[in-house]
């Protein structure tokens, strides 16, 4: 049997809980600090404005392009490379009384002078009102997701575990947002999708651990809650590592091969999965213990022996 981990007995994971919790708190505070001071580099979807993606026939000189965009309509344009030196992304802010069409036409005039063979690959315009609504809806979506999960986990497990898992999720979301803020990565709708997926994924991990905790509370009648949690984490450790690894592999594939349009999405997932794995072990379980989880709390919830109805599913 080829194994990554072959642990006999249990490892005292909770021994490191306090230093790791301090690290978590620092990371969360740091993220919040960055969010408060630097804010998030909101993408077009949320701010409104116009984006033009161009493909030049040769390497494009950003400074020359920038110098070409000096009219009232195109002033304040952000010019950057997008993927390769030939691909250029130009972001134009919303301007009172100026139509997006006019802005785009002027950009095209300016760049065609530089390279007559330039190709307009993509143009996106989002009105400021629509952007504001999307931002509100997006924030709401994350909140609703967390509340739904809180309810579901309380219903399936126990409120201490539910609170632990939701705190872990909030922790993941805040740190992911913090990274986007710190490095001023663009936050658009696909990144929001990434963050919500992280919520789902991180919870997945937490539930696997909790499920084992619940099972072990009933099996290990004489052990302390700490021992139960340690044993449960140890038992699920190799699964956690393998699943995280396979998921990371596909996310890295997306990050490297998926192209520029889903780069932000892949980045959010990459961050989130990494942080999420840690938080489900440390934040969620540790918090549940601190909230005083013990064997009695597990009793009212009937453990469903779902294995019993397995045969029905068989063909």
């Amino acid at each position: 049997m080829f194994q990554i981990l072959n642990i006999k007995g249990s490892v005292n994971f909770l021994r490191h809980a306090i230093p790791i919790s301090i690290l978590s708190v620092i990371l969360v505070l740091g993220s919040l600090g960055s969010l408060a001071t630097k804010g998030i580099n909101w993408g077009l979807d949320f701010t409104g404005g116009t984006v033009v993606e161009l493909e030049f026939s040769n390497s494009a000189n950003l400074t020359v392009i920038r110098n070409g965009l000096t009219t009232d309509e195109t002033d304040g344009a952000v010019v950057q490379n997008f993927g390769s030196s030939r691909d250029i992304l130009i972001r134009l802010p919303v301007k009172e009384g100026i139509k997006s069409d006019v802005q785009v036409a002027q950009v095209m005039d300016a760049v065609t002078l530089l390279d007559p063979a330039v190709i307009q690959k993509r143009v996106e315009f989002v009105g400021p009102q629509v952007g504001k609504e999307l931002a509100e809806q997006g924030g709401l979506a994350v909140l609703v997701a967390l509340i739904c999960i809180l309810i579901y986990v309380s219903f399936r497990f126990e409120w201490r575990l539910a609170l632990g898992s939701v705190t872990a999720l909030a922790h993941d979301v805040i740190i992911t947002l913090g990274v986007f803020s710190l490095f001023q990565l663009e936050f658009d709708l696909t990144v929001l999708a990434g963050v919500l997926t992280v919520v789902g994924y991180s919870l997945n991990d937490t539930i696997v651990v909790f499920d084992r905790i619940r099972e072990n509370f009933l099996k290990m009648r004489k052990s302390s809650p700490e021992e139960v949690v340690n044993t449960s984490i140890t038992q699920t450790m190799s699964r956690t590592i393998i699943t995280t690894a396979t998921t990371l592999v596909v996310v890295i594939a997306l990050f490297l091969k998926g192209g520029t349009m889903i780069h932000g999405f892949a980045t959010a997932l990459l961050m989130g999965i990494f942080v999420g794995t840690f938080s489900s072990i440390y934040v969620a379980s540790f918090l549940a213990i601190k909230l005083g989880i013990n064997r009695e709390h597990m009793m009212p919830v009937e453990i469903e022996k779902e294995g019993a109805d397995q045969d029905k599913l068989m063909s």
Binding site: E55, R122, V144, T197, R239, K257, G259
Partner: protein, 605 residues
């Protein structure tokens, strides 16, 4: 059972392997219809030009002719549009090359989103403020005439900040006016806002009425946009409402946004003219028209001579509904605003018994451009109805002598001539076809790499059981594609492909959970059969709980996301459902088939 479900999934995934045919699509525009005779005419033209037709289908009033390659497609388009004239729109299209037998069983490939296919996406917002303003202005005029006719003296009426403000000199008149106006319609809600010697009555639209106005404005715009999009000759356009005030327009394959926008925002208008009865048919046919008159074409065909003087323009039209008279003959009831009503009443009183024509004017894209790059528009004028004036007409009148379908159409055209509220573009996304193709390439690349690594790892780590998991993983991917193809509304987008890739990574989780559990049970000294049983049994509730929560977040994403992100949520949800099936039920049945009921000493895990 398991095999059947997977086979069905695989079956519906098959159409995705066939790629697309180059095709030409023919749609009727102005009053014409695509029929079997159109089809044979098209076929004859193509045969005479030596263009081989792969398949020609007539469906939902549109004709789709498949040809062998892109070159033939362009030639065919030209030939067909020359042959059919401007009553039909001929567009280039890519049609799924699904074999007929598969198609007849409901098989069709996944629909690609704009980010993969290229095209334009518009989000348009109806100016509801304008719709409400128009309505209140009409009401102000109404109240003025109504109160005057009823001899209720008011001091002033205006459209104020709080609604329509009607000022009176005493409380008694106010009460009279209120009860009178209330009895006329229940559209409006009246409140008495008198202070001291100022007697004010404020009228505001009721919530129901307000909703009705907005709904009408939205519906009208959708209808108009749909008509215009059809004129564009785009294959598979989407025009649908989003929420209470917005309309999504998606035009796959369209690259020239400027042109699309001009057509979508083109205005149509209506004019009423008197028919010039002095002109005789022969003279008209030879081109001699009396001074002050002009020849126009009827929509149904045939010329008609109209006086140049415009009796009334369409912006006075407030509403036009198809209805029936007391003999249940179809008619169109029209109401004008008060100014239009008085103009109309003046001009019609001298023309009783004479025919009056309704002229529909519209600007249509010619496909050419002016020197300055703007789109060359052609003015199209058509007489849509000729009716005899029976009596002096006021603000409300009907046009009779119509067929049922005609009355529907006329009402629509009349309304289109006077849009209740303008629309403006609040979001626009244009994706070039090269970027679309690039996106597909990238997505597939990422999927291949991700999947390859996962497959190799599973095989090395779990050996025999790993192979089973790999089978399940592959089956899962096939099923996601199959289900995506089966659901008519599901659209594959770039984030959608990312969702599929992600599913690959996460779908193995189910198997990992089960296998780790089996290993653990084996370590604890259980027999092989017991270990398998316990492994599947104990892992089930964990897998279910974990997946249900991911499903919930996907559902929320589906609710708030737009376009591409919705596509991601859909693939994620489908992926979760199918992966649970393949990871638990699918692998168990293989495991049972191999090791079930036997005395096994050692498992390949």
């Amino acid at each position: 059972m398991v095999m059947i479900i997977i086979a069905v999934g695989a079956f519906y995934a098959i159409p995705n392997l066939f790629g697309e045919d180059h095709a030409v699509q023919v749609v009727a525009t102005r009053g014409a219809e695509v029929t079997a005779s159109t089809q044979s005419a098209v076929n004859d033209v193509l045969v005479s030009k030596g263009i081989a037709v792969k398949r020609s289908e007539l469906e939902n009033g549109q004709l789709l002719v498949r040809v062998n390659n892109g070159e033939d497609q362009l030639l065919a388009k030209e030939a067909i549009s020359d042959a059919l004239g401007d009553k039909f729109t001929v567009a280039l299209n890519l049609a799924a090359a699904t074999p007929e037998w598969l198609e007849s069983m409901g098989g069709s490939p996944m629909k690609l989103g704009l980010d993969l296919r290229g095209g334009v996406h518009f989000l348009m917002e109806v100016d509801m403020g304008e719709a409400v303003r128009k309505m209140t202005e009409a009401k102000v005029a109404d109240y003025r005439t109504d109160l005057r006719a009823e001899k209720i003296r008011y001091a002033g009426i205006r459209n104020g900040a709080k609604g329509i403000e009607i000022k009176f000199r005493d409380a008694e008149t106010l009460a009279n006016a209120e009860s009178f106006l209330k009895s006329r319609s229940n559209d409006m809600v009246f409140t008495d806002r008198s202070t001291g010697d100022n007697y004010f009555l404020i009228a505001n639209p009721s919530d129901v009425y307000l909703k009705q106005i907005k709904e009408d404005a939205l519906q009208q715009n959708i209808t108009t946009l749909r008509n215009r999009v059809n004129e564009l000759g785009v294959a598979e356009p989407v025009v649908q409402r989003q929420g209470a005030e917005r309309i999504i327009v998606e035009l796959p394959g369209v690259q020239d946004t400027a042109r699309a926008k001009e057509i979508l925002s083109a205005t149509a208008s209506i004019e009423f003219h008197m028919v010039d009865q002095s002109a005789d048919a022969q003279a008209v046919a030879s081109g001699r028209v009396p001074a002050g008159s002009e020849v126009y074409q009827r929509r149904q065909g045939g010329p008609v001579v109209l006086k140049k003087a415009v009796m009334l323009t369409g912006d006075h039209i407030q509403g036009a509904q198809p209805s029936y008279d007391e003999y249940s003959r179809p008619q169109v009831s029209i109401n004008l605003d008060s100014k239009g009503g008085s103009i109309f009443s003046n001009v019609t009183k001298d023309n009783i018994g004479k025919p009056m024509a309704t002229l529909f004017i519209e600007y249509k894209d010619t496909g050419d451009k002016n020197a300055d790059g703007s789109v060359k528009m052609k003015k199209i004028e058509e007489v849509i109805s000729v009716a005899t004036i029976q009596a002096r007409l006021g603000r409300n009148f009907v046009i009779t002598g119509l067929e049922h379908a005609e009355s529907q159409n006329l009402a629509l055209l009349l309304r289109a001539g006077a849009l209740i509220a303008p629309v403006y573009i609040v979001e626009e996304r244009t994706i070039g076809p090269s970027l679309g193709a690039e996106n597909i390439q990238n997505g597939i690349q990422a999927m291949i790499w991700g999947m390859a690594v996962v497959l190799v790892f599973m095989m090395v780590y779990y050996r025999g059981f790993g192979l089973i998991a790999n089978l399940a993983l592959t089956a899962n991917l096939v099923m996601v594609v199959g289900v995506m193809s089966m659901i008519p509304g599901a659209v594959l987008t770039l984030p959608g492909i990312a969702g599929m890739v992600l599913t690959v990574g996460m779908a193995v989780d189910g198997n990992v959970l089960i296998y780790e559990r089996i290993r653990e049970e084996l370590r604890n000294g259980r027999s092989v059969q017991q270990a398998i049983h316990e492994g599947y049994g104990n892992a089930f509730s964990t897998i279910a709980d974990a997946n249900i929560t991911t499903f919930m977040t996907a559902l929320i994403l589906f609710a708030v996301g737009t376009g591409a992100v919705k596509g991601f949520a859909v693939t994620l949800m489908i992926g979760i459902a199918t992966s649970m099936f393949t990871a638990i039920v699918g692998t168990r049945s293989i495991v049972n088939a191999i090791w079930g009921g036997k005395r096994v000493k050692k498992l390949s895990i």
